[in-house]
């Protein structure tokens, strides 16, 4: 049991240490030592990615480090995946994410995606410069819980409201939570367009996503800044 603790800690450290090979090997070792794949994920890889997020917010890690940590996370996840029964998959929920039409800034969106995946969400990434109705089509197709909209441009940001209008027009507004973010976006803007929440950064986005899926009732308004 203690050995298992050690292994899980080492796996978490491999993610924090950007060590793809170690993450792969340690995930395999954890499985062969009899640990359950979903435990390896939730007690090894996910805590590692959480620590990475903290280092990023603290200004210790920057975008390059974060990308390399996420490579280690995915390497470990690839080893676990065949052993995770679909029913066992500890999915926190499903998110459709993208950068709204008119904007190609995708670095922040990629970070939010990585942190969501690192905390147990399944994420469908639509990329950048995404036409408004694509978000709705993809959310329906993938039966998403959350639609996450990113924009760094004040002009493109207005399109976030258009996505919500399309949802309303198709009678789908109650089926999905909508969260918004990006540097010009604010909680006030989120409220104005009728989004369900706003977060100023990736760790805030993760907290917000968890609270959105767990809140069964709608109409909570934009979440306060964490």
């Amino acid at each position: 049991m203690e050995d298992n603790q050690e292994l899980l800690r080492a796996l978490s450290d491999a993610v924090v240490g950007m060590d793809e090979d170690a993450a792969r090997v340690l995930a395999g070792q954890a499985l062969s030592s009899g640990l359950d794949a979903s435990d390896v994920l939730s007690r090894g890889l996910i805590p590692g990615m959480k620590a990475v997020g903290e280092k990023y917010e603290a200004g210790e890690y920057f975008v390059p480090e974060l990308l390399l940590c996420s490579d280690a996370l995915y390497a470990g996840l690839d080893v676990l995946r065949p052993h995770l029964l679909a029913s066992q998959l500890p999915s926190a929920g499903r998110v459709v994410i993208g950068v709204v039409e008119g904007d190609t800034h995708d670095i922040g969106k990629n970070i939010v995606r990585i942190m969501l995946e690192g905390s147990g969400f399944e994420v469908v990434d639509l990329g950048a410069n995404v036409p408004h109705h694509f978000f709705v089509d993809a959310a329906v197709q993938h039966r998403a819980d959350i639609i996450a909209l990113s924009s760094l441009m004040a002009t493109a940001m207005e399109g976030m409201g258009a996505v919500i209008d399309i949802l309303a027009r198709r009678g789908l507004r109650d089926q999905f939570k909508v969260m918004v973010g990006g540097s010009p976006v604010s909680a006030a803007f989120a409220r104005k367009i009728g989004a369900d929440g706003y977060a100023p950064n990736a760790t805030g986005a993760v907290r917000l996503a968890h609270s959105l899926v767990s809140s069964s009732s709608r109409g909570i308004g934009a979440a306060p800044r964490p």
Binding site: M18, G59, F62, P64, L67, L68, G102, I107, N110, A154
Partner: protein, 355 residues
């Protein structure tokens, strides 16, 4: 000193010499002054990546005359060097600037297949050079600014952004190969701009922001590129400006030793705090482009006066203008600089109260 020409004033300001007041410019390139209204007014469709020399000259002259800017400058985006190296570019519309839509290479492994472009033969580069020559003949007393892409931004048009960012930490030598190719391209194009008569060069490097690359990586891998670029321009006797977007607090020490004559900064940076770190380096900036797009003329004038009260050497917007920016705000901005009486005490007090 009241009879300084616009060219002399900008030159003095960039040299840290005293002036009657700061010049007011919008250099061009990623800090382009073109707005949808200006493009419409000059009858241009906004496909600036396809524009020939006459169209480019017309666009910058229109911008200058419509609002009162004290410079001319070409090109109007960050895609010229990228396209010359093989990236795919969308040409732009009145409301969206030209953008890199696909980098030149799928992977850095293929870097050896690229050659340094020859600015005199490469079509987009030579069109920019011709535009500079046209402007110099017609406007001998107005400073003509040559605008260049920065090495990090250009490197992310050579190989995919996320790959370049990983290489900066994982494989320094490959990252450096990409950065050096970018640097060589920038130096070659910049020197050709000087040969064509450019009076100053502005290098814009949004992707080098301190928010994306940490200070250690910046100092080790990015700073040497700036030093190579600016020492090459300095050797030619040229004045050059570095612009990096966003919060650059963490990389100010590197910016100080970049060799650029002046630093142009975003509105989120305090001029006073930056000056503590940058010493005698002249500063350019820095009214929020969002305020210029959405604010009332009164608020624009107040923001301009605040920047002047903080003794910015060259007055300019903080970054690229939003294409929806109203002309009235830009006129107000230029007018506020030209009518500056040098007394900013009231403006500073007002801004402190607000904070």
């Amino acid at each position: 000193m009241a009879d300084l020409s616009e060219k002399e004033r900008l030159f003095r300001a960039l040299s840290g010499q005293e002036c009657d007041r700061p010049p007011v410019i919008a250099p061009g390139g990623m800090m382009s002054p073109l707005t949808a209204r200006l493009l419409e007014a000059s009858g241009l469709d906004g496909e600036m990546a396809r524009a020939g020399p006459d169209t480019m000259a017309l666009a910058t002259v229109t911008a200058r005359e419509a609002v009162g800017l004290e410079n001319l400058g070409v090109p109007f985006c960050l895609t010229v060097e990228a396209e010359a190296l093989g990236a795919r570019v969308s040409p732009g519309t009145r409301s969206v600037e030209p953008l890199v839509v696909r980098p030149a290479l799928p992977s850095a492994e293929h870097l050896a297949s690229l050659r340094l472009p020859d600015p005199l033969r490469e079509p987009r580069m030579s069109a920019v050079l011709e535009a500079i020559r046209i402007l110099k003949v017609r406007y001998p007393d107005v400073p003509v600014v040559g605008n260049l892409s920065g090495p990090v931004t250009l490197a992310t048009a050579i190989v995919p952004t996320s790959q370049l960012l990983r290489l900066l930490v994982r494989n320094e030598s490959l990252a450096c190969d990409a950065l050096r190719l970018a640097t060589g391209t920038i130096i070659g194009f910049g020197e050709a701009m000087l040969d064509a008569g450019a009076d100053a060069l502005v290098v814009g490097d949004p992707t080098a922001t301190g928010e994306i690359i940490g200070p250690a990586t910046f100092k080790k891998l990015v700073l040497p590129q700036y030093q190579a670029i600016f020492s090459a321009f300095r050797a030619r006797g040229a004045k050059s400006v570095l612009h990096i977007c966003g919060d650059v607090t963490a990389v100010l020490p590197s910016i100080r030793s970049s060799g650029a004559d002046a630093f142009s900064m975003d509105s989120m940076m305090s001029i006073r705090k930056a000056r503590d770190q940058l010493g005698p380096m002249p500063l350019m900036g820095n009214t929020s482009t969002l305020l210029l797009a959405r604010g009332t003329p009164d608020r624009v004038a107040a923001a301009v006066r605040r920047a002047l009260a903080e003794e910015v050497e060259v007055y300019a917007p903080s970054c690229g203008l939003d294409r929806s920016t109203p002309l009235e705000n830009l006129r107000t901005m230029c007018e506020a600089v030209k009518s500056w009486d040098g007394d900013g005490q009231a403006d500073l007090e007002a801004s402190h109260e607000r904070r």
